[in-house]
């Protein structure tokens, strides 16, 4: 799955998890930029991503993620 598709899927998942309509994100978006994206929502976000993409992260793979772009790259690396 190319990165743009992954980004769009992540965006939809974030809308669902954070219960926000018409969310717009870019690879540079960080948790600070999105209302409600706190550490527990982050757990739910990662869990939902794992379910939708049928992948699993180790804690060490999530810890270093700085923004949406990092997250998308991490997903794509799992899918590759």
């Amino acid at each position: 799955m190319p990165a743009t598709d992954t980004l769009e899927t992540v965006r939809q998942i974030m809308e669902d998890v954070l219960n926000i309509d018409d969310l717009s994100i870019s690879p540079e978006t960080t948790a600070k930029d999105v209302k409600g994206w706190d550490s527990l929502r982050h757990v739910r976000l990662v869990m939902t991503i794992e379910r939708k993409f049928k992948i699993k992260f180790k804690n060490s793979e999530i810890e270093g993620l700085m923004n949406v772009g990092d997250l998308v790259r991490a997903i794509d690396a799992k899918l590759a």
Partner: protein
Amino acid sequence: MLIDLEWLPAPAEDFRARVRALEAELAAGAGPGFLERVTSLAQAALDDSQLGQLARLARAMAARPPAGIQAIKLGLVGDGTLTLTVDPIIGSGLRHGLAIEVTEGGYNSGLAEAMDPESALRTAGLDFALLAPDARILGLDRAAVSEAEAEARVEAAFSHLRRIADHLRPSVGSAILAQTVAPPLDSLFGSYDRTFPGSPFAMAEALNRKIAAWAAEGAVVLVDIARWAGAVGLETWEEPRHWHASKLSVPPAMLPLYGDIVARTIGALRGKARKCLVLDLDNTLWAGVIGDDGLAGIALGQGSPVGEAFIAIQRMALELRARGVVLAVCSKNEEDAARLPFREHPDMLLREDHIAVFQANWTDKAANLKAIAETLNIGVDALVFLDDNPAERMQVRRALPLVGVPELPDDPDLYPRALAAAGYFEAVAFSDEDRQRAEFYQANAQRAAALSATGDMNDYLASLDMVCTIGPVDAVSRARTAQLINKSNQFNLTTRRYTEGEVMAAEQNPARHAIQIRLTDRFGDNGLISVIIADKRGEAWEIDTWLMSCRVLGRRVEQAALAHLASAARAEGARALIGRYLPTAKNRMVAEHYAKLGFERVAAADDGATTWRFDLAGYEAPDLPMRIIDTALATAGAAA
């Protein structure tokens, strides 16, 4: 099946938009059918995000719950990070007719908050509290060196829980729920773990036995997480990475199941459990179509794998009947054909006399389900409908969203699992009344036949040889009294719910008069069927609670009850009775209860609540077609 709630249909494609629409509707004032719209959204296999969306809707209802939804305040006290469990519990609550508000205890500070009368938990006005322990926080995850140390550690863990419960109890209106702990997956010694009391596994098991015994005493209501963790498999339940990163005792993937388990237990405590299992016939109770294949053509019974699968579902239905679930049949069939296997198939476990209502015709199933509910005098929300045909299931869900309609897997071998996993008949107790309920309905059918034979109501009542026993609520009748108080919806003037503890307090309070009424007749014992609690306010007695089982409607028990109340109140110098009717979605049948008994209406509020007064001067008890044994008067006299 369990983790993904496969007994529920898939959610609507536009689920989030629909929740939004309901939020808007609620803000503008919920219109007719709101309960049905909420229920059909909630009766779906929702994921964690969708439960979060539903939770927001539930929160918006909590202050003024719409008709048919009960507001519940739940306190959450436990180990590890509980926050993620909040939305799944609240969202699942709507599936069970509950708008739950959660007050969450701080991280691992349950005991301190329970002890502090000013804490959020103690001041929230909780209806329920849920203790959610984790063996790892309770210190049972490291082996004890000796049996004595193991015992001490388990006892310390248990008394920690008990202290939390004891401190919370005065601030919890209804009940405290306590979870068992999931035992550790990874063994220390291997199979020897179970033998050596100091192994983490054995200590978790020992704690669970203590928690179960605690629940058996009636101190708490059990939420058996250990059982569910085992059912999905500990390898799935226990996710070390989430424990290490966030101290999540319930891993994220288990949250939808966990939320439903908690919500269904609270639902059961609030009388939301279903009462009747309605069964389709062809390909649900046997393989094949009886109308086409005939008695010899359907597959049922030992000796063939397919036949045994259907025996299994029949056996489950019988087991449910034995614990008080009423059985009914709803099938598109000619009636004679439909009844044939019940009468003549040698391998049928279910027989005609197990079935309280038998609807076999060509009308649509929703209409038949309504007829079944009416015949049994219960709401359609008390029905579960088991049908192998997806189209029929969809029709019933669309027409009657409040009926529980489980999705069934393709393989009939798994029908019992889907039915059991759904938890429609979740119970928190098992009484003699439950044991006999199926017979009550059988006897009711016979009574109906007797009535149509005589035709005249008075002759009919006289022919029943009724004996009405009125007594004070006491230790023996307390459990059933509390059960009736929490389950009666229709013939219930004020729908005030009391726990066993509160019932006991009412018995012992000299300013209250708490009685229970039993009725027997020639067809059988109807059991404890009515409860009245009155407050003695000097000149007038105010009736706080008056409820009756709909099984004995039209038997003039309420007049016997009034005669009793009049005598009891007079004996203590009162001159009047005051009654109140508080309307709910379900108790319209008693809106005119007091008028029918000769009370005079003295007030009516905007919300439909009415107040009634009955002057005792000049009242004479009527002749009633029953023998009355009143021990509550004797007791009152002895006490006075």
